[in-house]
């Protein structure tokens, strides 16, 4: 058992190799990528990144993505909080069925919904807005947020609620001043997963946008098809999409695993 560290080390090495290759390419010119096979950039260049940070069609892609992901995360968690509280504290007509119905939406293949979503959001005049993508992503993020938050809230004893009422708190004063700080870790985890699934999804985001709210991932696919293969540029854009995720993981590193483990199944 002394060799136990070997397994995670090899696994992490396997995870890092494709990422290394992407980062490596992002510092090369497209000519170098296509012309020679080198493990390190021979002709180190920051040109690819310079293009992305100076061309609005590129950097606005990041702004658009971050905008709808943020709206989605805030919206999903905000409406999921009271709902999860209701599921964890009360029994009411149809509660079990409702909970299961919510979860079934997590099982709906986005490919099934692409076309109807396009028609629905065009009909209500939201096509190509950040709101449209943020709302569409609540389809799978709200069920997930309710599920995670409900798990965390279950772990909070009901005596906390009762003591607060005895102390003269109104419901909202209790909910906002006492309850929310108590489950802060759970809210962090729920935000993390909402951010994650909204950030990585492309099919719906691409279907619901054309110019003004185009996500960075869609900008990348367009560039790949029109101007030949600007591999260096694509690699740099890809590398930059990893960074927001890495920052978010760092903040919730101690809670990531706990989030799902506490959710009820």
């Amino acid at each position: 058992m002394h060799m136990r560290w070997l397994v995670p080390t090899l696994y992490i090495l396997f995870l890092m190799l494709p990422i290394y290759w992407l980062v490596n390419m992002s510092f090369k010119s497209t000519n170098e990528i296509l012309g020679s096979f080198t493990l390190f950039p021979q002709d180190f260049t920051l040109d690819n990144y310079r293009v992305i940070f100076t061309d609005p069609t590129w950097y606005m892609g990041y702004v658009n993505s971050l905008t709808y992901v943020s709206i989605n995360t805030v919206l999903s968690v905000a409406v999921a909080l009271p709902a999860a509280y209701a599921f964890s504290r009360y029994r009411f007509l149809g509660d079990k069925h409702l909970f299961f119905w919510l979860l079934t939406n997590r099982m709906a293949p986005p490919a099934v919904f692409a076309l109807p979503f396009f028609q629905l959001y065009s009909a209500v005049g939201l096509f190509d807005t950040h709101i449209a993508v943020a709302l569409a992503h609540t389809l799978f993020n709200i069920p997930l947020a309710v599920w995670i938050l409900e798990g965390f809230m279950r772990g909070v004893p009901k005596e906390l609620d009762e003591t607060a009422y005895v102390d003269g708190h109104s419901f909202w004063s209790f909910f906002i001043r006492i309850f929310i700080p108590t489950i802060a870790a759970g809210i962090g985890v729920a935000c993390f997963f909402c951010f994650m699934f909204s950030w990585v999804e492309l099919l719906l985001a691409k279907t619901l946008t054309s110019v003004d709210a185009k996500p960075i991932a869609a900008v990348m696919t367009r560039t790949a098809s029109t101007s030949g293969y600007e591999l260096g540029l694509l690699a740099a854009a890809g590398t930059l999409t990893i960074i927001p995720g890495a920052i978010v993981i760092y903040f919730v590193r101690n809670y990531i695993a706990k989030g799902f483990a506490l959710g009820r199944v």
Binding site: I12, R91, L98, V200, A261
Partner: protein, 286 residues
Amino acid sequence: MNQTTNQRAWLFVIPVVVLVAFNAVIPLMTVVNYSVQETFGDNTFFWSGVLWFEQMMNSDRFHAALGRQFFFTGMVLLIEIPLGVAIALSMPRKGIWVPVCLVLMALPLLIPWNVVGAMWNIFALPDIGLMGRGLNAMGFDYNYTRQPGDAWFTLIIMDVWHWTSLVVLLTYAGLVAIPDAYYQAAKIDGASPWAIFRYIQLPKLKRVLTIAFLLRFMDSFMIYTEAVVLTGGGPGNTTTLLSIDLVKIALGQFDLGPAAAMSLIYFLIVLLVSWLFYTVMTKDEA
């Protein structure tokens, strides 16, 4: 927890219900609508009953895509679940390496799916990719854009790379939650590592493994973007999975009726398998 009955709790749930209903019920009804109608493209629709469903159920193309989908999902589950458990078991439980492991392992989960596809597309190319070039240098005749076997190998290894960490994270969370007393008791009894795993860890992990299995089943069954960017369903149709085929029919050929019928069958399969598995796994708890 003892829950009190309170019908006013519905008020708390209404925002969620309204939002999800807007996103789920209206589009789903649109799909149901298309699935029972015929159109000639001029926005006039005719009732066609179960025609599309019959056509879909008898279509070789659908059967082939469904078969490929089950093969893909089966392989992915067979590899990722045991591998994820093995890695979680050998991870350190405390110390500075724990956050380092967790952060590095979670990284693939947060990369946009088309970037994952593009990354592997290039990484596996036989001329400029590290993996493709490496495999060829080792004497394998590897070219995933031409040989179906290689395309499948690349598709599966990409998914293993992308999602095994989710299983690791969940299993690890389950392992950390097992109280020390269990291990001490096992030590006194002189239990072998296998006995500890079989009789202490595995039963305690049942719940998180159920979640891991369900999530991996659902997401691998719905895979679209990564696979499209990596192989585009090719070479030929050899890696055309259900979602890829569906998008081809719906947005490529604009055959709304068949696409809608296929969507509903597709959704029902995911629901049915998830429900069956969930019922089997939790039947002795209820």
